[in-house]
Symmetry: C2
Subunit: 470 residues, 2 copies
């Protein structure tokens, strides 16, 4: 494909996406294919000769699209959002077109410096403590996902607690980590990968709002210390996946400070809300945190992957993550004047991901991003009010932001049936969790194009499904 062909096919793909933006509501939100359907449409072997681009695009329409679940639909209320936007798509496109590999400053200084700079912007935008900026002792880096951030935090925490001995001699018995019983599974996964072990992750009990009980945390740390163990990491969650519960970071932070334990704060979904002064309370207590993460790729219109990870003391992070062979040595790195992001993450190679974040922030401006958050939160509050007004339903957790956890009073089977019917019908998509042991429906609002009419229709669809069962 030469540059002229690229131009022509590039326009085609741009048009395809623009059309998709216009028509996304016409698809059933949840794909209806059965396991194996997509593969059945694909030839058994790769083509020996190249094929015309038109044929590939035709297969996208005919084979791929039926197998797509439409995360960008205004009727997507499942999980948490993974929203994208025009500027983000074009930033990703430019990144692919430049094709730079930003493993070190020298391999494309702009890739590193734009990332550092835009993450400083973002720190200011959401009101992080000064120490998390590159202009102080810390700095930000784009990780692929919150799981990647949890793992990096676990390793840095492990090395801090063992004085670097784990990296050298391997993990020894007796390291412990702490998170709430409602924390994301990625914390347990990180603790496993880092060699600490699930059995040494204390899942601290939560209160009636599903937030960690600080007293229980303090007790668990004390018990472990008395037993001769080494507390390494506390992971607090600001906005849990099940219900956006908010752990009390100030109290947790004081406990971590007292015991010298690394505090990682995972605000993957909720962090975006801190763009708004009225939600800035989400970041209370971050002065105690050693690392912090939120995902612009969830609620800030930047397509996956873009997790903003911040560290308070970058030297602790790079001490834990750096391994430098001869073939990567260079004058800039050895000067100490530059950041080499290979030492801030698991991966060596990296894309120019800050372009899409920069495009989004500049195209929208901070004010518009705030308004989008406010709109989603207002719609969630309104939806929760409708649920509360309906005697057949109940709200199952405090509605702090844009997620409503609710359930029909008829029990687990009825709720499962409501969800299945609604999702199979295809006009909307929602998912579930368990709270207090009960199956709970989740309506998560986070698409830029989701308006009041979509939320109204969702509620109508849910009530009708409930009515049809009862």
């Amino acid at each position: 494909m030469n540059s002229e062909e690229f131009r022509q096919h590039g326009y085609q793909v741009i048009d395809w996406i623009a059309d998709y933006m216009e028509n996304v509501e016409e698809y059933p939100v949840l794909s209806r294919v059965k396991p194996g359907d997509v593969r059945a449409g694909l030839p058994a072997a790769a083509p020996e000769e190249g094929e015309p681009f038109e044929r590939i695009l035709k297969d996208v329409d005919e084979i791929i699209m039926p197998g797509v679940t439409h995360w960008q639909s205004p009727n997507f209320f499942g999980y948490f959002p993974g929203n994208t936007s025009g500027p983000s798509i074009l930033g990703e496109l430019l990144s692919a077109g430049l094709g730079v590999q930003g493993m070190m400053w020298v391999t494309s200084p702009a890739c590193t410096e734009l990332e550092t700079h835009v993450l400083d912007w973002l720190a200011e935008m959401v009101g992080l403590p000064e120490k998390f900026k590159s202009t102080a002792t810390g700095g930000g880096v784009i990780q692929a996902t919150a799981s990647s951030g949890s793992l990096v935090a676990a390793v840095a925490a492990r090395e801090q607690a063992t004085g670097g001995r784990s990296n050298e001699a391997g993990v020894s018995d007796g390291l412990t980590a702490y998170t709430s019983a409602e924390a994301h599974s990625s914390i347990e996964k990180a603790v496993r990968i880092a060699g600490i072990g699930s059995a040494n992750l204390r899942k601290i009990e939560t209160d009636e709002t599903f937030a960690m009980r600080p007293a229980a945390l303090a007790q668990a740390i004390r018990d472990d210390k008395v037993a001769g163990r080494t507390p390494v990491l506390v992971c607090a969650t600001v906005g849990t996946t099940s219900s956006t519960a908010i752990d009390p970071v100030p109290e947790i932070g004081r406990i971590c400070a007292e015991h010298g334990v690394w505090l990682h704060v995972d605000a993957a979904m909720a962090g975006t809300a801190a763009l708004c002064p009225e939600f800035r309370f989400l970041h209370e207590g971050l002065e105690f945190a050693d690392s912090y993460l939120f995902n612009p790729h969830k609620w800030m219109l930047t397509n996956v992957d873009c997790s903003a990870f911040y560290v308070a003391d970058r030297r602790k992070l790079t001490a834990a993550m750096s391994v430098v062979p001869e073939y990567l040595r260079n004058v800039a790195s050895e000067s100490g004047e530059v950041i080499d992001y290979r030492d801030w993450q698991v991966e060596l190679g990296r894309r120019f991901r800050s372009l899409k974040l920069w495009f989004v922030i500049r195209s929208y401006g901070v004010k518009a991003l705030r308004e989008i958050v406010r709109g989603h939160v207002a719609m969630a509050q309104e939806f929760a009010a409708w649920v509360e007004d309906d005697p057949d339903f109940e709200v199952a957790a405090p509605v702090l932001l844009s997620l409503v956890c609710f359930r029909h009073r008829g029990g687990d089977e009825v709720n499962q049936e409501i969800m299945d019917r609604v999702n199979e019908a295809g006009r909307m998509f929602m998912t579930h969790t368990k709270l207090d042991g009960k199956l709970t429906l989740r309506l998560s609002i986070g698409q830029e194009t989701t308006g009041r009419k979509h939320v109204e229709r969702a509620w109508e669809t849910i009530r009708k499904a409930a009515g049809a069962i009862a």
Copy 2:
């Protein structure tokens, strides 16, 4: 940005990239900015109001481009290539436009099934043993980078050796891993992250071709066993980063089989060459491997990130990597009929990365991809012959594929000076390594647009720089 604005600005970015493809040779290959130059051009804070897209594109030209090192230049001979292509860029664009998050089959069946299918194609294209296909006991998955693959292999190996106890109880003393002294730094990084520890990674000595000595490996494993340690992982390299040395996988594999140790084969760069029957020898011995990786994002025209990771027994991988919370449970996953790639990688979230690989394979066809590899290898062989014919220079390692390791006979300082002069002049870019303790220049050929004239000019440039010093 509405869909009409997206269309208009999308065409602009497509045009920008097409122009860049045409003009990439006009830029100095290595960016000339000094630390801080890029940031100095950026405003201190994010804009409160949105900005017109034209202003952003103008800043790309004026602020970003001077800070770009041009990996897509035909005169880029540094590191290993990270080549891209029109079809790959458009696949990445479509992925961003669809904005699906493929953490599980159900969250977009096509994202999972296309990936599984195309990686089966790819296994056939490069002649992997049948067991690595999804239709047998194994299967492929796209990891972000080779480092990610090394880490996943290390964790799976650790769990195999400990019967799953490390994930549960944490790593205990006495686990050991093995790789050659020439292996990539990502192996040591993976061993550290997984809690095994650098001191327990045996860096096995290499022979005169910089390939691992199997006898030394066997001895190290025996010694560790006698000392009561548990050998967990051997990582063999097919095409080392320094010199594309090829570890003798058949002998290494037999040793692993004898001792029941997980064998991971890292062919990050070289694997692409196995598209050609005459280089299929690279994959000899893979019948002994438990996992295998190569990077289409290096030499197969698919932009970063796209590492093809294969496992022989997928149950061992998912047993090591799976943690499933309630909010991710679904009927399809529990049926056992589908793959959920969240359990094949560190990250939970994932992009629709197989689109770009599919676009590349279909647009080029396998035959054309083979010819590109052959062209690069032929040019490297010719370059090596020129070096050999010059009494001032010597070839420093066998030239097996598309990398030439060579040096001026004047010693380290002269070679450093040659490299610095050449790179500063900007018409080409190359990097270095150390072999036998001596600074060694590396000319790595891997851009689709690199032709004989570029390689000829590179040699002329290097000789002139040498002449100017002497």
